[in-house]
Symmetry: C2
Subunit: 239 residues, 2 copies
């Protein structure tokens, strides 16, 4: 995301030809919160189970890496599915342009009419957009389908989720790594602080104040972590 | 996704005014694969641990629901972060238009120049687009930032991930639910079949043939599930 930039014609041309910047914010947030909730639930579940710090640490690490891999595989495939959906719709539009050019011209006409074009101006804009197939399809993709071509790489999306999951998911394990007394208490406090931190850091990409976003993520995270712990606890009593 | 449609002017107008359809495909794929990998790893991890079907089922269910909740919370927040990023960039563009209208006009000019507009046509299109602030900002969002306004609801994205996670994640538990002999073998076969099914169903939204997408998802899924199992197994020997 580029928040401030120069307005010289050359700077604008450079920026536009570089294309839109690709955001992996969603993947970082997704992986971070899920990693934190999952590992915290393990740590909390171990309370009262009379496990040594070493066992909690090893079980936690195993779960952390296995789940991060699973998330990466799932995000890779999900992001790829999104690309292929774009491709599928694009091929459909290419077919429509070949088979029903008049219908597709009418679509372009209505799109630009809605943008305030009228009479001769509208005729000209439709002529120019439909002059070249690539431009024509680009317009249909962005305006009709709300799908601009953005090169969100599945591999980078997968890597972002994996990194965020491992990074945030390690936090509840740190008190066990250092063999602290009262490790579960430290884990709870550090988990809460990290939820708040994820929220307030993400406020940099949001119009909301840092403490509002921080408190929101803290609430959602603690609710999910509490529910995860409670379900595990409830079902363990059934076993 | 609408693959075929009428080309009458009225049908086009109805379709365009309804806005682009919102896709939750990514969320379904993401949740489905992650749910399947995670639950399969639990079932596989229980092999040789001398657990009863009942215990595997209860542990698996606890994990299934807890992880699905965690994914839903993480996806909700990640999708919301994406919306707020849109809002933040939009407010930045509004500021730029207010402070440097000439620079932003130049951006619109270059965007339409790249689409093949020249001379008087280019002047007219820039005049019309920049006539109204809303239209001007919409153009910058879609063309400069590759961010059209798409109302992907965080609640629906969270629900899709949750549903897909629980649905696909239940599959490896079914042989335990029915108390089948050789439950782990059935679980492995059913997991493989489900990976293939996820891939071939998603080929409906992809230009690739169903069996290619099926085999790809099967490979990725089995790799992730195998790695998740191996890590758990390796670390258990250390404990």
């Amino acid at each position: 995301m580029r928040l401030e930039h120069s307005h010289s014609p050359q700077a604008i041309a450079d920026r536009l030809s570089a294309g839109p910047s690709v955001s992996y914010l969603r993947d970082w947030i997704y992986g971070g919160i899920d990693g934190l909730v999952t590992t915290f639930a393990i740590v909390a579940g171990a309370v009262g189970a009379d496990m040594s710090s070493r066992v909690v640490l090893i079980l936690g690490l195993a779960k952390l890496i296995a789940d991060a891999l699973s998330m990466a595989a799932a995000n890779y495939t999900g992001t790829k599915a999104e690309h292929e959906e774009y491709q599928k719709i694009r091929e459909m539009e290419e077919r429509h342009v070949a088979l029903h050019p008049e219908g597709e011209r009418e679509e372009v006409r209505q799109i630009f009419e809605a943008k305030g074009f009228k009479g001769q101006d509208l005729d000209r804009v439709v002529d120019i957009i439909t002059e070249e197939q690539h431009r024509w399809i680009d317009t249909m993709m962005a305006e009709e389908h709300g799908m601009p071509l953005v090169n969100r790489l599945p591999s980078k999306a997968a890597l972002a989720v994996f990194a965020a999951f491992v990074l945030c998911g390690s936090v509840p394990l740190l008190p066990y790594l250092f063999g602290l007394a009262n490790a579960p208490i430290y884990a709870l406090v550090m988990t809460a602080v990290t939820f708040f931190a994820i929220g307030s850091i993400r406020s940099f990409w949001s119009p909301r104040p840092w403490w509002v976003a921080g408190l929101e993520t803290l609430s959602i995270g603690l609710l999910a972590a509490g529910a995860a712990y409670a379900i595990g606890d409830l079902l363990k009593t059934i076993v």
